[in-house]
Amino acid sequence: MDTGSRAVSDAGVSADDESAAIRTTGLTKRYGDDVLAVDDLDLTVYEGEIFGFLGPNGAGKSTTIDVIMDYVRPTAGSATVLGFDAQTETRAIHERVGILPDGYGLYDRLSGRKHLEYAISLKRADDDVDELLDRVGLDTAAAERVVGGYSKGMTQRLALAIALVGDPELLILDEPSSGLDPNGVRLVREIARDHADRGKTVFFSSHILSQVEAVCDRVAILNRGRLVAVDTIDGLRDALGTGSTVTLTVDAVPESLTLADIVGVSEVAVDGRTVRVRVDEASAKVDVIDQVREDGAALLDVAIEESSLEDLFSAYTGDAPRGADASAGDR
């Protein structure tokens, strides 16, 4: 991957529309004259994958989702979802997609159960309310109460349950972990995984890398409205060279240490019986271990330290992952 260029394109990947859950082509959204929220975005999300959509606040993630869901209309370019045009075939999309939107609200005077019943009837689905409640970890007693009295976490779980109504082919989660405690964050991951295991697609947006790292097959990084990377997490590490450090403890360091010759190894440092190897490609880690044995050392211990994803993020976005960047607002 060409990391020298600021913007990358995910288009031109040879795949027909039938296997693309989401495809944007030259997608641009401008608010007024000076806010360019999304800038010429080409993105393809394949069916059956869990796709992480990363970027600092204000990067244009929610705007992209807003266009995909037809909440806003693009200035240029287009988006298709499951082969349907986002602007002209909205209903077909909404029948097949479940969304946890950014900045959503619920009805304070309505109980959790009524919310789900309403969503089920609007979607003409036949879900069992109790089963949905169970999937998101809301107990039935809480579901009888009105949402006005819910905590942020409970509200988020209910909104997640609404997104799951009708067992959608594509689940779009915009910052699903906000307001959730660690149990809730884990639950979101489980739901995403579970949904993908059923053969469905999950599109998972977040500004926090650690939340998507564990669960996503591929990620895209968006910054200032432009796509700066699309890859697997390992692929991103490899491409950036901010890979991992393999620390080997051996009985004795062999004289002819050939680790530096391995493809993907960038640096080898020896300190007593400890060998530290910086690895830029994920596949080189095993090679390092094999090679040190071949060189004649007995391996006592191995530790692998992945480079921080926050570092990776900063490397791509070119500034602090959180905070100040808000040229576009996160809409």
Partner: protein
């Protein structure tokens, strides 16, 4: 299979029951129309019958119904847009047009049932006070009042569809109320003054009555008067001559319906083009 707009309309109606909004409408209409129906008994010199009583009630309704219909519906869409629940609903299959239609019908149902129940109460009061009730005139007036309510629900939904938040929706709703009920009353007089150089007297030109009846409340008043005073004779007395075709009741019915449909259509166009972020 139920149409989604019907599902939305039902929910709107259930919400109004839950929030007791509908009972507020019933109470206000029942009390105010009953009071105004009994005024002619309290004022000794006024000769009153049950028709007069209904007329008095309709005068009050002409002022009250617009404000209640506006309150009942001005936040229907703007409120959901501000709170973000609109994103949840529009993330489900309903289109923007279906949401608009469902909201309009649901709130119309609320206003219609509230007004009808309120009028039933004042009908009972009128019967008790005057020893009888002209059923045809009473039912007709109730239906016309419901139609007036529907017009203002259409205006309110139109306003709600083109505003993002509560504050501008409220400003527009208040403006619509003041403009359509209070200011419009003055407009024909002003025009008369401009055209003829004097204030309207006992006999007025036909266009003056048409101008009065172009607002929803004006059209309502014209229709109720015709209903209660029987045919076009009162109009001819006012004009001092034969009645022109453009003062036919059908024209005023059309005006009432247009006041519901046109704002709705304008609201739909604005809403369907809007960026809901």
């Amino acid at each position: 299979m139920t149409a989604v707009w019907l599902t939305i309309a039902r929910k709107e109606f259930a919400d109004a029951l839950r929030s007791r909004m509908i009972w507020g409408i019933v109470a206000v209409i029942a009390v105010m129309t009953s009071l105004s129906a009994s005024i002619s008994l309290l004022v000794p010199d006024v000769e009153g019958g049950a028709e007069m009583a209904i007329g008095g009630a309709s005068q009050f309704a002409g002022l009250l119904v617009p404000i209640m219909a506006l309150i009942a519906a001005y936040l229907a869409i703007a409120g959901e847009r501000e709170s973000g629940s609109l994103k949840v609903i529009l993330g489900l299959p309903p289109s923007r047009g279906e949401v608009l239609l469902g909201k309009f019908l649901g709130r119309c149902g609320v206003v219609a049932i509230g007004l009808t129940l309120g009028f039933v109460v004042s009908g009972v009061v009128t019967t008790a006070l005057y020893g009888g009730l002209p059923v045809g005139a009473f039912v007709g007036t109730t239906l016309l009042t419901v139609l007036l309510g529907v017009s203002f629900v259409g205006i309110a939904i139109g306003i709600s569809a083109v505003t993002r938040t509560r504050a501008p929706a409220m400003t527009l709703a208040i403006t619509a109320y003041l403009g359509l009920t209070l200011l419009w009353d003055l407009a024909p007089n002003a025009v008369h003054l401009l055209v003829t150089g004097e204030m309207p007297g006992q006999v007025v030109p036909g266009w003056f009555l048409l101008l009065q009846g172009l607002s929803p409340t004006g059209a309502y008043n014209a229709l109720v008067q015709r209903l209660l005073l029987g045919g076009g004779t009162a109009v001819e007395a006012r004009l001092g001559g034969p009645e022109p075709a453009y003062l036919d009741p059908v024209v005023f019915l059309g005006i009432l319906v247009a006041w519901a449909v046109v704002p709705l259509a304008v609201g739909y166009v604005g809403f369907s083009r809007a960026d809901l972020s």
